[in-house]
Assembly symmetry: C2
């Protein structure tokens, strides 16, 4: 059901011809109100794609009526012409739907450094608008795929209101954010400040902690649109929890579909002096290529976990560190612990616990193993 | 000629049985004086191997008479017993050579988290001492190899004095330092303060800028020993230049022998506002797995260079960045530049220039591509 699970939204996904292989590549999501509140979170990469610059700008009003998303081209590092193209795309959506361009967010994904084929994209906007439907959520989710093998959607329904969403992303997955486009919709009757607060709180502990390959994108965009069509105004905590659940679910789907990965690695840092310490240590472990190779080889190589922890500034004493892999404490007090032969690594999910023995804070970071398939996919696909 | 090129040094390399495959695994380097000045630089990883903790301690005197190095085991994350083993090794060298243990540095490399077979190592010390020779430099260099396919040595000779050295390291290559053991020797007649200054200046712009896989070791050790046997005291600048040349040469040999690599990538950051900015940007590019895969695929994917630059805090404007790959300015002013089809990437060395257009400082970082062979080697070899 994706972005059309919540009342007050229509969507479409079509093949506009942006992708040379003819696959769907253009998605349109429209908020029919009565409310049109919105919030957004964008990449922290300082090299930002044109659509990110545009959407950050229009989001300042706290109001969005539509989002147009294309795969098949990132429109990043494309200079003034790229920004003009984004602007023209928003203008086209506005014209077709009878809106102002300032109510239209734009998101793009694909190859960096190539201009979009506007002669295909602009007519595609008209086609997509003609196919807008309350059942269009799946098609929209399919149209934003790049190297994704499956489309990703998630829905949480509560008493009379719903949060739903779609996501894409399979490579360049790293915090701040993963390389991904996410559109969340809700029919809850809430203002943009509440949406913004709930969205930032959710992304901080979900998408920002998905670190598949350490590579930060130029195009990451997460949008949350509220229609108010349910006429229900849930309490903040309840709403924020629903947004977090949907973000967490979509984040997990991104990890499970990461390019070339054969393992999903949950890195749980416990007993840290601060949450920041826990996140720093988790990221350092998640980005250690040698460890990621070892996990790929089903080798519970805890020495590589310790050497990753040692590169951080977190509070810890080397001789008090403990590490468990799939429930076996293979490292105790910074040295050899239980027999590593006891670790069963046959399954896709691998669970690493790093105990810093320095406090009571915790954080969980998700990553993937490093595989020959990852190398093949990313040395062949110019993305 | 390695560590015995300079006068006043003897060395040996033997197979003590630490490695199960019977390859050479124990090296001994002895400074016969008359001077026994020394300096050292060690890993900045906070999880330090026992031999690093020991050698940092003994180096405080600025004096070393011998260095014992083993491959086949890192003696890292081995707790109090590991430190006792390092101490016992130094004591054994001291006993055999008639020295104090506080004049003996110890270095180890290999698998983390496993105790060394002291029943093999201690008798090996006696054997090695019996084979000490002014021609033993090559054998010592061979005995410290782990996954290295070749041994690495370098020598610079000046007017009456010499700096020579040996290095090992093929994986876990990252700054602060690369995973490596390096012993440099000189017969110049200089004190330990001068050695320390020259060594730190040299490693900062050589080994610290070799970043093959972003993984920092627990065991990195670089030692510089001076015998004074030449009876020549060169000026500081001349001496520092010789040390830098040897370090640079050995660093290049490490990159060329990096595990599984098929490309050596020279990342030259120019027109930075500060040297720190240049180094930060160079490292960020060097650690971008997607770019490293693209280079492996001979794909001049400059978008991945820009997205790596964008994650840094360096001074730059996104629309003023320029990137050249093998002499072709594929990115100009943050957008599409010369035709990427012009880039010839058939050769092993790849040269990336990142122009930040923000100042006049520069730095060069070396890295390798990311290959399926790297994954295979590091998912199979528990190191």
């Amino acid at each position: 059901m994706s972005v059309t699970a919540a009342k007050g939204f229509t969507a479409a996904g079509i093949a506009a011809g942006i992708k040379q292989n003819g696959n769907p590549d253009l998605a349109l999501v429209v908020n029919d109100g009565p409310r049109r509140a919105a919030a957004g979170v964008f990449t922290s990469n300082r090299v930002k794609a044109a659509p990110v610059l545009w959407s950050e700008q229009v989001l300042k009003s706290g109001r969005l009526s539509a989002v147009i998303l294309n795969s098949g081209g990132a429109n990043a590092c494309t200079g003034p012409k790229g920004f003009q193209d984004t602007h023209a795309t928003a203008e086209k959506v506005a014209e077709v739907l009878g809106l102002g361009a300032g109510e239209v967010a734009v998101a793009s994904t694909g190859l960096i450094g190539v201009l979009l084929p506007m002669d295909k994209l602009l007519p595609g906007v008209e086609t997509a608008a003609g196919q807008l439907s309350e059942h269009g959520g799946e098609k929209a989710a399919i149209a934003i795929k790049t190297t994704d093998t499956v489309h990703k959607t998630s829905v949480v329904s509560k008493d009379g209101w719903t949060v739903g969403g779609m996501a894409k992303g399979a490579g360049m997955l790293a915090p701040g954010l993963a390389t991904m486009l996410v559109v969340l919709t809700t029919d809850a009757d809430l203002d943009s400040e509440t949406l913004d607060k709930a969205l930032r709180a959710a992304t901080k502990v979900t998408f920002d902690r998905v670190d598949s390959d350490g590579c930060m994108s130029t195009n990451d965009t997460v949008l949350l649109l509220a229609s108010g069509a349910s006429e229900v105004a849930p309490g903040y905590e309840e709403f924020a929890a629903a947004v977090r659940t949907v973000c967490d679910d979509l984040g997990q789907q991104l990890i499970r579909d990461a390019e070339g990965a054969s393992k999903d690695i949950k890195i749980e840092v416990v007993n840290a002096a601060s949450e920041d310490d826990a996140v720093e240590v988790g990221r350092s472990i998640a980005r250690n290529n040698l460890l990621k190779c070892a996990i790929h080889g089903e080798d519970p190589n805890w020495g590589r976990v310790l050497s990753a922890i040692g590169t951080t500034g977190a509070v810890f004493e080397a001789d008090r560190l403990n590490v468990a892999i799939n429930g076996v404490w293979v490292c105790k007090n910074g040295g050899v612990g239980e027999d590593r032969e006891k670790v069963d690594m046959r399954y896709r999910e691998v669970h690493i616990v790093a105990d810093l023995a320095a406090g009571s804070e915790t954080a969980t970071i998700w990553t993937n193993d490093l595989t020959a398939d990852y190398v093949h996919e990313n040395s062949a696909y110019s993305s």
